[in-house]
Amino acid sequence: MIKHDEVLNENIDNKKTVEFNVNIPIDNLKKDNQKSSEEHDIIPMSKNSDKKVLVAFRDVKIGFYNHNQLAVIVPKLNLDIYEGEVLGLVGESGSGKTTIGRALLRIIPTQGGTIYYRNKRISGKLPHGEKRELKKKIQMIFQDPSACLNDRSNVDYIISEGLRAFHLYENEQDRLHKVSNSIAEVGLRPEHLSRFPHEFSGGQRQRIGIARSVIMNPELIVADEPISALDVSIRAQVLNLIRKFQQEKKMTFLFIAHDLSVVKYISDRIAVIYHGKIVELASAKRLFEKPLHPYTKALLTAVPIPDPRLEKNKKIEIYDGSCHDYSVDKPEFVEIEENHFVLANKKELEEYRKLL
Amino acid sequence: MNFKDLSSFFMSEKNYQTQIIISYVVIALIALAIIFIVLVNKNVIMKKNNAFRRFITHPLFYYSLKRIGSALISVFLALAITFFLLRMQDLEATYCDSGLKSKLPSIEAWNNYCASVKRSLGFGGNPIVEFLQYLYNIIPIPKKICTSINPTTAQCAEEGWGFYLMYLGYPAASDNSSGDIASTIFARLPNSFRWGALATIIQIVIGYPLGVLMAKYQDKFIDKLGKGYIILVDAIPGLLYYYIFFTLFTQLTYNHINLFPINFDPNNVQTWLAPAITSAFAGVAGIAYWVRRYMLNEINSDYVKFARAKGLSENKIMFKHVLRNAIVPLSRSLSTAFISCLFGSFFIESMYSIEGFGSYLTVAVQKKEFMIVQGVVVFSAIISVISYLIADIAMAIADPRISFSD
């Protein structure tokens, strides 16, 4: 999955335009670029949390060069992913949620800021060995299960591809054992191993995709809209699997989706992203109880409720970015209550505080 | 001043000085304009808004400029590769008349003679310098060029100075009667163009409808028939059906059925048919194959389903939606068809003894005429690059989704 990123990273790093506008203390970036494996002291964004930060995005800027002009997709991202949690990332198409996931996987280079993984820098240039380590530790689940599996290789090969690449098995027997274990874990049978992807239904294919990621025993899995292409009844299976792996194997998930109802079920915390900026971040429960940002509210009311009376009577809020007046008073991403962040300026903050 | 006056002005030797000045001024202006537009910041030009500005900042203009730039590079590369490849050949045998060996007093004299011949043709010395000289020679501006060197003085011979618009050298001494290569090609090109254009038209007129029918009646009889034809053309070597057609047309002509006379006559369209049909036989299959493929792509697309749901009749869907959209990617194949008709016809021209472009190359290769081969490459490179350029720009205009920035 992460094949061509090295070249891309190196090329674009030269043009790097780093923007320092820090309200959260971070280490000197220049020093980072020279020493990579050094441990940094990352100060968690939330002062009230005792959870261990696995991934920290600090002022991360992501964009693409188009004719030598940088099109910024994510201007300044600050986000912590705690160890063992499922963090839901919700937003519309084009909001940059997939881009963030890919930057974490190093498929897309960052244009500024730093991503830390277990207090080590993982963005920008890295020694080859560390890149390999990361590929082992961070895995991905894709949206379209039929597009991400090679049609010409059988399930056994697809699942054990990662094992082969990193020689994570002692002998052939060990490899087969691991593969059949992981396929059993996702609810398929060992006889499925010799079959080819086109012989499976969409839900089964997605489970093969999950088995392929999970067999590497990663610490973090980036799940990019893993259920959007699936039928309602199959979605539940995949969601259950993700939950199972989080609980039993203590894996951390970054769950990217556009459907809040699904994200609410699966996530511990939810980050709502709009036009590349996280506008609100809170625990799933709290976000549904007390949404503060108007965009979160609009997103919440937009989710259809499977109840005719509620759905037909519900009041829909429409979000219009022009409702904010940020001309003088610039917005900041502030922790308004314990573990509840919102993007707002001072005036809005006061209004939001009243709502709590 | 009408066009004839203008062309005679530029082709005649009389106003030589003025012509050179005009040509260089025009070229310098174009170069300056390109540098200005490409290098100078777009915003400087954009500040005011008038027709000229709108023209030079039009995305299509930029796009064309870029494509022309890359086209020039392609031509340059094609020239460089053939130039240095052909230089590896042993050319003495072709260009130095070995009959003179016995007539000349000494072997040195013959060597001297041979060296001067080679020098006047532009090889035998430093290949880089000669390549640059060659590039200068083919740039279409009027210039005075030394075409023969006096073997004794090693200076340009008195009668050696010539006035040329484009100089490609002369054929080997033995065949000096026909004049310089550039004018020979200019004279031969129209013949090839005549029947080549006819062949292209035949390909389009038969190939497009065939492809459309095959797509419309997919897996029905006509589709199967067409597929069979395409496989036949692919499977049989081209030479075989060239000969089959040639024999057929020859027999017809000998039996006084003058439908497809085989004696090519530039002024008689009917005589162009025989080579055109021979050549188009394969081309029709190629065009039909691609039309069918693109049509099927479009037929199975969602907007065709939606057009059907709108209640449009099948014919209207076919012509207004499907064919229109299928033709856009095919416009590129048109230039290919034309080029292959023009150049891919070395056998056909020899077969029907047409004094054309293709047969010129055949003769040149047989006689190891380095200068002619090189000259033919110059022309074919320029013509193909121009036709691809036109096709690309046409496609960019036809398809609004193609962004001009790339």
Binding site: V232, L239, I266, F288, D307, P308, L310 | P400
Partner: protein, 368 residues
């Protein structure tokens, strides 16, 4: 199949727009005959919104394609009738026969607005061609009408927009254009084939609102195909649940959500993530949907059904009448069948959801 014969006069005050009787559709594939729609009967009333719900492969799209004769070339109607305005649509064969129906009386909106419009034609000309064809307008009239239509679907500055190409638009805007085209001829029936599946949630609500508003304005009948039960709850008056090429349950939207009777409907509802308790695994339907390669014996859902009875594997259940508006095709409703309670989650649906809604004060009492 006599058991599919339903008394059409149940809601006798309502006029029937489309009446489908014992419809069967077959597909020929690699020499196999696949029975994709099996004896389906359904009445669609004038002016209502009926949602057809089911998984992919349930036949919901194929079923509605028969209304406009848009089946793939290897599919055909093997038996049954589709009565629409005193005409049997099942009898129409060539595309010429269909011309007076398609677009004019029955219009369709497809799932993916990104590909529904011809990328090389201007938006205006794609609307104008319909107006000229079906309403016989001249170019100027058609252009005026096109602008008016674009305004109706709330596209800003329609005068300028008609000269745009589709690629300049976002998905939501394109779907608006598609709706404008579909409504160009005041159709009697509008078939929406998953019109919002490819769109963002916020855009989805806007499009659904638009369809609802336009329906009030134009009074057309909407057939809404979807797999999203949330969308169904918002837009439908009646719901038909399809499984394995048959309608297994149909009734008013309240019947289906508050009093579901078929185990498949139960399973669909209980797999909704909105209904799960925190930390509790979601329930899901085991196994795969039936493959049409083999003849289906008995109830198609039986192999995946927790509540399956022995008879489900032997004989196909008839359509049982539950109320005047509500029918379900399951042996559980037979007098001899054991009494089975629907899953708890389905019983408490309303209460559960009510607690989730932010602004629940605005919604009245929802206990059923």
């Amino acid at each position: 199949m006599q058991e599919n014969d339903i008394n059409v006069k149940t809601e006798n005050e309502r006029e029937i727009e489309i009446s489908v009787k014992d419809l069967s559709v077959c597909f020929l594939s690699h020499g196999n005959k696949l029975h994709v729609i099996r004896n389906v009967s359904l009445d669609i009333y004038k002016g209502e919104t009926i949602a057809i719900v089911g998984e992919s492969g349930s036949g919901k799209s194929v079923f509605t394609k028969t209304f406009t004769g848009m089946l793939e070339s290897n599919g055909y109607i093997s038996s049954g009738t589709i009565m629409f305005q005193n005409e049997d649509l099942a009898k129409l064969k060539t595309s010429k026969d269909w011309l007076h129906i398609r677009g004019k009386k029955i219009a369709t909106i497809f799932q993916d607005p990104m590909t529904s419009l011809n990328p090389l034609l201007r938006i205006g000309s794609q609307i104008i061609e319909v107006l000229r064809l079906h309403r016989g307008m001249n170019k100027e009239e058609a252009e005026k009408e096109a602008i008016e239509l674009l305004r109706r679907v709330r596209i800003p500055e329609p005068e300028k927009r008609i000269h745009d190409f589709p690629f300049m638009y976002s998905g939501g805007m394109r779907q608006r254009v598609v709706i404008a085209i579909a409504l160009a001829c005041n159709p009697d029936v509008l078939i929406c084939d998953e019109p919002t599946t490819a769109l963002d949630v916020t855009v989805q609500t806007q499009i659904l609102e638009l369809i609802k508003d336009l329906q009030k304005e134009y009074n057309f009948t909407t057939i809404f195909i979807t797999h999203d039960l949330g969308v169904v709850a918002g837009i439908a008056d009646r719901v038909a649940v399809m499984y394995g090429g048959q309608i297994v349950e149909y009734g008013s939207v309240e019947d289906i959500f508050y009093r579901p009777a078929h185990p498949y409907t139960w399973a669909l509802l209980s797999s909704l993530p909105q209904l799960a308790d925190d930390g509790e695994a979601l329930s899901y339907i085991h196994g795969n949907p039936p493959s049409f390669n083999e003849e289906i014996v008995g109830d198609a859902f039986a192999p995946r059904n927790k509540y399956a009875l022995k008879i489900d594997y032997i004989q196909e259940p008839p359509m049982f009448k539950i109320s005047d508006s509500h029918y379900a095709k399951t042996w559980l409703l037979d007098k001899r069948a054991p009494k089975v309670e629907p899953p708890k989650i389905v019983q408490n649906l309303s209460k559960k959801l009510n607690s989730m809604v932010i602004d629940n004060k605005k919604v009245g009492d929802n206990s059923d």
